[in-house]
């Protein structure tokens, strides 16, 4: 029985776990039904302008595949064996009716698989509003910003069609404020985890972040604050673990068991690139002036570096990962990447050579969202954790 006097994050984690495990989206359906006219808009990894969806009065929800609990019956008939798993489980969610309450879908330009899935969705669900969100790859300010601002104008029109009313600039500004707060809190959780990883296990933090892609931002902000206040007060045992950064898991998500296995193998995860949408802009997005311009500006000049984005400056290729290692006091990097993932796997050799130059140890393995066998992961992560300790002479 829980000791009532002692602060615990357990009830929050339980709530997050329930949201995470529910493949029929009961909570989101309930949100929609609670008020007439409410709409839900899904988005795929790795980024979507959630502020616009929120400003339209819709609930933005992250569609992140089916995890290891979804039985894929139809989805495999749409994909060859050499394509990653997330599109097939997403198709499964669609054709099995689990997403029938979703009014619109946004497919960002992360890779050719999700790009093509946007067209498949148009063909398979012609009655649903579907939009491909083309993100700029030219990061010169006066080229990329107008392009992305225009794209955002089109996304705004797309959402206006769904809700049947205009979205005002003030509504967008208000949403930017809320998401600024969300990003600030998310970053704080990450910072706190790096400070006391024993009190904020990554398997919990992960669930907390997944919940953020399934609940209204206002609720999630409150949840993040509450979680931090409780987690700080907990007295979990400090272990002699190695501190690692996870890289490459920004799209198809690893099974929760994989995160747990890495921790069990003796690693504290002190930074990662799971669900990067929730801390995409590194500082506050401006709230005065043209809101779309502000979002576009933030995307071009202040967003997270990650494999699906072009790095215009060769001198800093991979620097973000080295920075993450240094800033979070990590001792090594684990490349955990979905099988057949072009962005992650093509980028990896460049990141590895940056790490090598910086003398940072790393290992790598591949996974699928439904990987069941964790023994190899545990062994590899365990050996890595031990070797890091040997390296650093502990």
């Amino acid at each position: 029985m829980l000791d009532k006097a002692k602060p615990t994050t357990a009830p929050i984690v339980e709530r997050c776990q329930a949201l995470f495990s529910d493949l029929t989206f009961e909570a989101q359906r309930a949100w929609k039904e609670a008020k007439p006219g409410r709409k839900v808009v899904g988005f795929l990894p790795y980024y979507a302008p959630r502020e616009l969806v929120h400003a339209a009065g819709c609930l933005p929800i992250g569609i992140l595949g089916g995890g290891d609990q979804l039985e894929v019956i139809h989805g495999d008939a749409y994909y060859q064996s050499y394509i990653c798993r997330i599109p097939r489980s997403t198709v499964e969610l669609g054709v099995s009716g689990r997403l029938d309450f979703v009014d619109g879908m946004l497919f960002p330009s992360i890779c050719d698989v999700i790009r093509n899935l946007s067209g498949m969705w148009k063909l398979m669900f012609p009655q649903k509003a579907t939009r491909y969100v083309d993100l700029p790859q030219n990061f010169t300010m006066d080229i990329g910003v107008p392009f992305y601002a225009q794209e955002l104008r089109e996304v705004r029109e797309f959402l206006e069609q769904i809700v049947g009313k205009p979205i005002t600039d003030d509504e967008i500004r208000n949403s930017i404020t809320l998401f600024n707060e969300n990003r600030r809190l998310v970053r704080e959780v990450y910072k706190l985890r790096a400070e006391m990883p024993w009190n904020l296990p990554s398997s919990e933090v992960y669930l907390l972040m997944r919940a953020g892609l399934l609940t209204p931002v206002e609720e999630h902000n409150a949840m993040l604050a509450e979680y931090m206040s409780l987690a700080q007060q907990m007295e979990r045992p400090l272990k002699d673990n190695s501190r690692v950064v996870i890289s490459g898991a920004f799209c198809e998500q690893p099974p929760l068991n994989l995160i747990k296995s890495i921790e069990l193998a003796g690693c504290y995860i002190v930074d990662d690139d799971f669900l990067v949408v929730n801390r995409w802009e590194k500082s506050e997005v401006a709230t005065s002036g043209d809101p779309l311009e502000n979002l576009a500006r933030a995307y071009i000049s202040d967003s997270t570096s990650i494999a699906p984005k072009y790095e215009p400056n060769p001198k800093i290729k991979g620097k973000y990962l080295i920075d993450s290692v240094r800033e979070n006091g990590a001792e090594g990097v684990i490349f955990a990447m979905p099988s057949f993932c072009d962005p992650a796997l093509l980028d990896r050799p460049m990141l590895q050579s940056a790490l090598k130059e910086a003398n940072i140890p790393y290992i790598g393995f591949k996974y699928a969202e439904n990987t069941g066998q964790m023994q190899p992961v545990r062994e590899q992560a365990g050996t890595f954790a031990d070797s890091i300790k040997l390296w650093s002479g502990q």
Partner: protein
């Protein structure tokens, strides 16, 4: 005891039957020599991709263009790509990613020897025309690391909504004006002259007319060309280093005359074994071919009298079916439109429409998809494409799987079996519809 039989290394079998092929071979040889001579002649080298290649612009700076995809194809045809791919994997590149990239990187690691047996020069600039394929971006980031040279990003928006918008063109023209042209000027030391570009574009348009005429000649019965296996040769100059040159104009004029003559004589396509005697099946093919067993693969078709009358792969370096031609009066806009139009930059519904249109217009018996392990750009979604096209045309479709330049993924027996049953399916469909009639 085992006996080791060593065979003398045979030169790869040549597939040359047409005079136009000989002409192209000569053009290519000259191009590769020019490329390899660049360190001596002082010509600057610009590496870029086939889809969205801006050859007319590159020519304005007296630069010579190097296309790593074409090098990978050449390695595939010469049966060297398998070794290169493995070399790349040894260097740490994943077995899951595109084999073009790995063939290129493996070739570099092994001395970067081109198809002419000479060392290819390092590029002076990488023009990352980011059109229709995600891999391109990482490929050039990888090469940039190797060559430490300037890299220009030229981002082509995807036709996610099935249309080209004025804003897309503006974005691209701005990139051309602000990034691409100034950087090429700086690297080459040659000042940009828009009239020179117009001239090049005028030449492109001329060649494009004859080029598309040749591809569309497959509407004849029998088709005088094979628009996939033969088509790969026919697109060579226009997809590669020759668009905008007099060489390309001459080549396509010459090719057109050859094809006109074949139509006049009622002949089918030329194959490596001579003229195809009888056209039994007319197919539309979606997806790139396999290059490591190109001739064997093609033979499986022509032995059965199957001719490909239209293919999507021959639109990957530019789509000319629907009226697009480079336009000297709108030079930069027209370069942008060219990039936007390439096949892999079209969304799935557009691709389905195009394939359905081909089946109808070319009176094909059905659709064959060659799904390439390497290529998510083409392959992701092809099973749905197959179903949609089947549904909309009522014609049977089939699916085979190979790879571009990785010989490990070409299983001749499997492909042959699939093709044989597909041809039977077409026969059955025919007899049931004639029975119904």
């Amino acid at each position: 005891m085992s006996t080791i039989i060593t065979r003398p290394k045979a030169a790869p079998a040549e597939i040359i039957r047409d005079a136009s092929m000989a002409k192209q071979k000569d053009m290519l040889a000259r191009h590769y020599d020019r490329l390899c001579d660049a360190p001596q002649t002082g010509e600057k080298v610009c590496a870029t991709f086939v889809p969205g290649n801006l050859n007319e612009l590159i020519m304005c700076f007296d630069m010579v263009n190097n296309l790593p995809e074409v090098n990978a194809i050449q390695s595939g045809l010469r049966k060297q790509s398998g070794g290169y791919v493995m070399e790349s994997e040894k260097l740490g590149h994943s077995e899951d990613v595109c084999t073009y990239v790995k063939s290129d990187i493996g070739m570099m690691a092994k001395g970067n020897i081109g198809p002419n047996g000479r060392k290819l020069p390092n590029p002076d600039v990488l023009l990352l025309s980011y059109t229709g394929c995600f891999t391109f971006m990482k490929w050039f980031e990888l090469l940039r690391q190797q060559y430490q040279c300037e890299t220009i990003m030229m981002h082509t928006p995807y036709l996610g909504d099935g249309k080209i918008t004025p804003e897309m063109i503006q974005y691209m023209v701005k990139q051309l004006k602000q990034d691409v042209i100034p950087t090429l000027e700086r690297v080459s030391g040659v000042k940009f002259d828009i009239d020179r570009l117009r001239e090049n574009l005028r030449r492109s348009a001329k060649a494009e007319e004859d080029h598309i005429w040749v591809l569309q000649s497959a509407q004849n019965k029998p088709s005088p060309i094979d628009a996939y296996f033969g088509g790969i040769y026919y697109v060579g100059p226009i997809f590669g280093a020759f668009r905008g040159t007099d060489d390309a104009i001459d080549y396509y004029k010459f090719l057109r005359q050859e094809v006109e003559e074949r139509i006049r004589l009622g002949k089918g396509p030329v194959t490596p074994d001579g003229d195809m005697p009888q056209e039994r099946y007319r197919l539309v093919v979606e997806g790139p071919p396999n290059y490591t067993h190109f001739r064997q693969f093609w033979k499986m078709f022509y032995d059965e009298g199957a001719v490909v009358v239209a293919s999507s792969y021959t639109k990957v370096g530019g789509t000319y079916d629907y009226g697009f031609r480079h336009d000297p009066d709108r030079p930069l806009e027209s370069l942008a439109e060219y990039c936007l139009n390439v096949y892999t930059n079209r969304n799935l519904p557009m691709r389905v429409d195009m394939l359905v249109d081909y089946i109808n217009r070319y009176e094909a018996d059905g659709l064959l998809i060659n799904s390439i392990k390497s290529c998510n750009s083409f392959s992701a979604g092809q099973l749905l494409i197959m179903r949609e096209v089947e549904k909309r045309t009522g014609k049977p479709a089939a699916f085979i799987e190979t790879d571009l330049v990785d010989p490990r993924y070409f299983s001749a027996a499997n492909v042959k079996n699939r093709l044989e049953s597909y041809f039977q399916m077409i026969e059955q469909k025919r007899s049931s519809s004639s029975f119904a009639a």
